[in-house]
Point group: C2
Chain length 449, copies 2
């Protein structure tokens, strides 16, 4: 049922492309879904891809281009003329058309805009002014809008009229004379209702959930998930219905959010994939590595202050990796738990103190346990009682401090409008390395020297 892209298939297809074997291509792709053809195109160059697409139906072609990922599409459309792009956009929904226009260079965007159908142009121009990360940037203009005094029959007529433009819908939206949203009727209830009934009598959800154009995409995602909605109407500041967002767009938002967070945690500073160029890979990875290096140099300088002590008792140095690794691990654990609870609000936020008390209880117990293991192991491995005691005491303190830092940093970042996930990345590790070393040498100084 699902199409699977194998190396054999790709090679056979490449051969057909080389031989311009149109018949093979048409026959092969007949039973393949457009979304799978999009995936296939990543395997060929732009000219070959265009050759394949030009063989297919215009509608299928448009769908495939819509499904390409943004970077691939940007590169691919370079070999298309404005007229060809306009033909494709005419077959797409307003939100997808606007996304593609956003990706074009300004001059070409203007040329394409001048060439697309008037109705779509009006819709798209309205959408282009929104940033991609707000409700206005996610919404499509295609929806079924009915007046509250209409009958069910009139609604169905309207659906018939709009059916060509709106390919997926789950409800009709009911508006008043001023175009203000007053409710919705699900398609199910429309099917079940008597044809002569007035819409106002079957309208659902007096408390209809809608979002305003300027709402952040992540908040739209939260609302749609919370209320289990497959689509949500978008209103402007006057409460007038201006578009709707469907769940498939929100799924993309959720996935991107998770990916962004993973990159932050891994210390990668821009969107990068394995098949991106060497240069993009380097650019994405160097910044946090350099910050780590600066932290490392500060560590070195700091240890330099204790050179004499280290000469006297070299074994002190043996436990630096242990102390720092544990501090790093504890810090990231703590931060990621806070980041998670910041991402899932909906509870009354407790005041800071009870949270910190709990963090400290956990840290004390974990720290105690780890210190005990290390003490036992050290006495056995190095048979130095005093040093073992010092290391364990320092370790215990480091667990406490790293927990505190890990808990407080994401809250502070969040408070100042930064992404709190930064606190589960190299940032907290670099800080904790320095902190761990300071605590360790302080303890050594106090107990050993």
């Amino acid at each position: 049922m699902e199409f699977e892209l194998t190396k054999e298939f790709r090679d056979r297809f490449q051969q057909a492309l080389d031989e311009r074997d149109t018949k093979f291509i048409v026959e092969t792709l007949e039973s393949v879904q457009p979304a799978d053809i999009s995936a296939l195109l990543y395997e060929f160059n732009s000219e070959e891809s265009k050759y394949v697409l030009d063989i297919l139906d215009k509608e299928v072609q448009a769908e495939i281009i819509r499904d390409l990922d943004s970077d691939a599409r940007k590169a691919f459309l370079k070999i298309y003329s404005p007229t060809e792009i306009a033909t494709i956009l005419n077959l797409l929904n307003s939100d997808d058309a606007a996304d593609i226009l956003h990706e074009l260079p300004v001059k070409e965007r203007e040329e394409v805009l001048a060439l697309i159908e008037t109705e779509l142009r009006i819709q798209v121009v309205d959408l282009l002014r929104y940033e991609a990360t707000v409700a206005g940037g996610l919404m499509a203009k295609e929806l079924i809008k009915v007046r509250q005094h209409w009958t069910v029959n009139q609604c169905i007529d309207e659906i018939r009229k709009q059916a060509e433009n709106v390919d997926k819908f789950y409800a009709v939206y009911v508006v008043d004379e001023g175009d203000r949203l007053v409710g919705r009727v699900s398609l199910k209830n429309l099917v079940l209702a008597n044809a002569n009934k007035a819409v106002v009598d079957i309208v659902e959800d007096e408390e209809i959930v809608s979002v305003e154009t300027y709402l952040e995409d992540t908040e739209v995602a939260d609302i749609m998930q919370k209320y289990d909605l497959e689509s949500i109407p978008v209103v402007n500041v006057n409460g007038q219905l201006v578009g709707r967002i469907t769940i498939d767009d929100v799924v993309d938002v959720i996935k991107e959010q998770a990916e962004e967070e993973r990159q932050i945690m891994a210390g990668i500073s821009e969107d990068v994939e394995e098949d991106d160029s060497v240069w993009i890979n380097i650019r994405a990875r160097l910044p946090w590595l350099i910050i780590g290096i600066l932290g490392g140099l500060m560590n070195a300088k700091f240890m330099g202050l204790f050179e004499e002590e280290l000469v006297r008792l070299t074994a002190i140095a043996f436990f630096i990796p242990l102390i720092q690794a544990t501090g790093g691990n504890v810090g990231i654990q703590s931060a990621s738990i806070v980041v998670q609870s910041l991402a899932n609000p909906g509870f009354v936020v407790e005041s800071l103190w009870p949270r910190l008390v709990k963090v400290f209880t956990v840290a004390m117990l974990n720290g105690f346990f780890l210190a005990l293991i290390v003490f036992g192991a050290n006495v056995l491995l190095f048979t130095e009682f005093e040093l073992s005691l010092t290391v364990s005491l320092a370790l215990f303190s480091v667990v406490l401090f790293a927990s505190f830092m890990g808990t407080i940093t994401p809250m502070v970042l969040n408070y100042f409008g930064f992404n709190p996930a930064l606190a589960s990345g190299p940032f907290i590790t670099t800080l904790n390395d320095l902190l761990g070393l300071t605590i360790y040498f302080f303890t050594v100084n106090l107990l050993l020297l």
Copy 2:
């Protein structure tokens, strides 16, 4: 429009609860959506929550209990009798009822099963045999099934009959005499079609996308996203239609997957939230901390072998944090890029060599650049030319090795059926710490001593 839970509101509500002020509670909650009432309940204890729910409509009550998170619900339903639980389940869809039954202790599950309505019981019993992580565990039995020779009018009659049971649907599924799935008709096309037309004439998607009961939930999520589906039919091994999965369940799968990955990256070994007990927090966090500690002890033992060298030139120790931190950062970056491309397949997987060549190119350039910075800084800060050169050379090698480890580890884990994300967590850091130290001391031995 959206309800916001404030501290003031909670306190006022608590007061109403203490005074058993039913009137206030009913009036307050009238305009609040069930999903928001669920969130409110986390603020009160089980008895208070039940008191609130018992005031509300049975339907609303069922919806609220459905929306609670699994842990909270498990605790909450402890104060419900089997009869009360059965009443709630009778008002829910089969998939939600099965999820709740799964959470009950076996004895209570049997009691409740005996009390629910026959039709629901048959459906639920069929669902209970699937694990939560496969298509069968995600699906609901409620769907509109029509025969291919029916007319549109007969379909609408069937919808009318089923309307009470199926609260959300977007399409009717068309089956043959053997109950095998042959296609679907979207609700839109049903609305638009002539009432006397045969279903077989308006059936869409000859290539209808469906999934089999045993498919992994993450694969179901991938398919629904790829084809932008709001619902997908589930078939058994004979191709017979047995249920359907809606996009809201898949959104949950996607979120859980992202959360699980974050936990793995942060070295947290079980699902834990900030408001979980101290004990759960410790249990989730200790395992990876202990593994880190063992790595740290191995580091210490290894450095012990070089005690004499360290006594002769203590400054060697200064750069251990720098070497290890960089190795850790590089390793996590590399691993997370591979994890990401493993999570987004759909390309023909290139053979290993070209990938590794690229990884090494990036690593060489990054390593060279970092080594240069460190060399410059060291000459300035420590004015020791030979040591600076040694540190930079070791750093360069560590970047190469850590990149290699970070790239290969997730592939190996994935190959053996483990979650590759493990490679972006404390696992790779612990390994890289040891590796970094070994490379550093090897370089020191070669060049300095």
